[in-house]
């Protein structure tokens, strides 16, 4: 075998790479995000199962429990109360599943294709988290469409607020999931751990029952639960667009209190963003180390 004379070569499109920079990292983020969306759109079963769950909660559980508690919350449908909780639940589950795909990618080798590319670990992790957030918001939009069925008005202001809050919550949850998934080697372990972490957080977040008049131990747990600060802004947004008697308002939408201080919504959102960014940094560090 001899080395080929260059003159006999076919005309090859030779691709020489530009130097790496911010534009390249942005391109990497975009393509990782794009893949997440392609994967989601292709997976109809996952989309459907993610939708059925909140519908069951909202219309079956919500209607059932609603008849039981009707007397104690005059003028408010229990399903209306549950509605923001269901939005957050859907967003959280979808985001966790997106994060779990990192474990899947590792099991099937595709993670290697990403990790050997000449891009920073950061752009891959950011792409994943944004992907999880976008997909979760997409799923949340379907729940938003059901607003009218539970007596929540389709006000543009409310919809935009909820979408932004969903995005923030989903980004943070995906970052949390990716941090968990960074070192995990199989899906079973990941989903086991995820159930263990997410279920109690969801129960304690105010998604299912109001956080007013709780025994003090439970109140403490709900206050330290980060998910509480993702659910509460959504509930505040929904309730500000309803006319609810003050008495029911106090029971159903008490907000979060640190000792005697009522935590305002911007602080709650800032907290979620801060946690999200911290987790993101942690996830990037995990992937750097894992190499």
């Amino acid at each position: 075998m001899t080395t080929t004379d260059p003159s006999t070569r076919d005309d090859v499109v030779s691709v020489r790479m530009p130097a790496r920079g911010l534009a390249h990292d942005l391109r990497a983020i975009k393509v990782v995000l794009h893949r997440e969306m392609l994967r989601f759109v292709n997976d109809r079963t996952r989309m459907l199962s993610m939708l059925i769950q909140p519908v069951l909660w909202l219309f079956v559980m919500g209607t059932g429990l609603g008849t039981l508690v009707r007397g104690s919350i005059p003028g408010v449908d229990y399903r209306t109360f549950m509605y923001p909780g269901m939005i957050s639940m859907t967003v959280i589950m979808t985001a966790m599943f997106s994060a779990g795909s990192i474990v899947w990618d590792r099991e099937f080798g595709f993670l290697r294709e990403m990790l050997v590319a000449p891009v920073s670990r950061g752009s891959i992790v950011v792409g994943k988290c944004l992907g999880g957030a976008v997909v979760a918001v997409g799923q949340g939009v379907v729940i938003l469409a059901m607003a009218g069925l539970v007596g929540v008005p389709y006000s543009p202001g409310l919809m935009v607020t909820l979408l932004a809050e969903m995005f923030l919550a989903a980004f943070t949850i995906t970052a949390f999931g990716v941090t968990l998934a960074a070192r995990m080697r199989n899906m079973q372990t990941f989903f086991g751990l995820m159930q263990m972490a997410i279920m109690p957080m969801m129960f304690l977040s105010g998604a299912m029952f109001p956080l007013a008049n709780l025994p003090s131990w439970l109140h403490v747990l709900t206050t330290v639960n980060p998910l509480t600060y993702a659910v509460d802004p959504m509930r505040q947004a929904v309730f500000s667009h309803l006319s609810v008697p003050a008495q029911a308002q106090a029971v159903l939408n008490p907000g979060v209190r640190w000792f005697d201080w009522q935590v305002p919504v911007p602080v709650e959102l800032g907290l979620i963003a801060l946690i999200g960014l911290t987790l993101l940094g942690l996830a990037v560090a995990q992937f750097r180390k894992a190499e």
Binding site: V12, M17, R27, A28, V31, R39, N42, G109, R112, A117
Partner: protein, 321 residues
């Protein structure tokens, strides 16, 4: 300029020395084979050259860039095909390549043309819209080779590119690799433990127990093992043996029912044999030493024997990944 330069490269895992200070150079444009049994240090070496594993000691440059200090430049200039598939089965073949093009920053106007070019090279263009999970093992490997080439790397690393494939597919993959070196300005660095595949390489390094035993072209290696083996069938073997000894000074013996002896270049010796032996010869066969013989003579075991030995660096690499 050499495509790969390795100086005193060392890797230890705890107390195990997987690679014990190796030195070699791969010339630009050649097909370089890294040959050795599983556990010899092949995958560890290739992982260090591809910046996936940091060396414990020594240094290496790939395409002119240091594998530790200029990791991204190295990555930009190499293509990788691993032993295990690293494709996304839920995406189509084209989507997989597009993903790669974006990650490697292939200039946007060139992406579509380049994807078509590499997919045509491996004869998968007509399957571009099929999900990769519907592909056979050979098709996946071809797609991975195409992907490895997409960003026009200067060096293509193939780690056991044909392992686990049937003979036809192996032959086809080699066909593509040969075509490729004629079409692209590229150096190919591959590991294999199939002796017959090593014949396709310009030069071969034999590695065993973390050390390079020898580096040379397949022909030179075979020549270094020594002579060709000639077997003749005659009517009278004893007379033939005596005649060989008297006229040519060659020692011969009967093996496998034929008079067998070794000479430096068998093909040139045969005409002289017919002319000068003075006996009728019914049949003659000349066999050249194979790379199996080469491996045997340098490592003292056949490659299959060596594989059943201890140490499985590949498993270790997987655990560490």
């Amino acid at each position: 300029m050499s495509a790969v330069t390795v100086k005193d490269l060392t890797k230890t895992y705890g107390k195990v020395e997987a690679v014990k200070g190796i030195d070699f150079e791969v010339r630009s444009g050649e097909v370089f084979g890294f040959l050795g049994p599983n556990g010899a240090g092949k995958t560890t070496t290739i992982s260090m050259l591809c910046t996936l594993v940091n060396p414990t000691g020594g240094s290496a440059t790939v395409a002119g860039h240091d594998v530790v200090r200029e990791r991204d430049q190295v990555r930009q200039n190499i293509g990788l095909v691993f032993q295990d598939p690293t494709l996304d089965g839920y995406l189509t073949a084209e989507q997989n390549l597009r993903f790669h093009a974006e990650l490697y920053g292939v200039p946007k106007p060139l992406v579509a043309g380049r994807i078509q070019q590499v997919m045509e090279m491996v004869a998968l263009w007509d399957r571009k819209d099929a999900k990769v999970m519907t592909f056979s093992g050979g098709m996946k490997r071809r797609l991975e080779i195409a992907r490895g080439l997409l960003h026009s790397p200067r060096v293509l690393f193939l780690d056991e590119p044909t392992v686990g494939l049937d003979p036809q597919t192996r032959a086809a993959i080699w066909g593509y690799i040969n075509k490729l070196r004629h079409r692209e300005d590229i150096t190919i660095f591959m590991t294999t433990h199939y002796m017959d595949e090593a014949e396709y390489c310009d030069r071969i390094a034999i590695i065993d127990h973390g050390e390079i035993v020898v580096i040379d072209s397949p022909e030179a290696l075979k020549a270094s093992v020594g002579k060709d083996r000639v077997q003749i069938h005659t009517g009278d073997d004893d007379t033939a043996i005596t005649a060989l000894s008297e006229r040519f000074g060659i020692e011969a013996a009967v093996h496998e029912g034929a008079v067998t002896f070794a000479v430096a270049s068998g093909e040139e010796f045969v005409p002289r044999l017919f002319a000068e032996l003075g006996l009728p010869i019914r049949a003659v066969s000349v066999s050249r030493p194979s790379l199996d013989d080469v491996f045997m003579s340098y490592t003292g075991s056949t490659i299959r024997d060596a594989e059943s030995g201890t140490g499985n660096e590949w498993m270790k690499a997987m655990v560490r990944r």
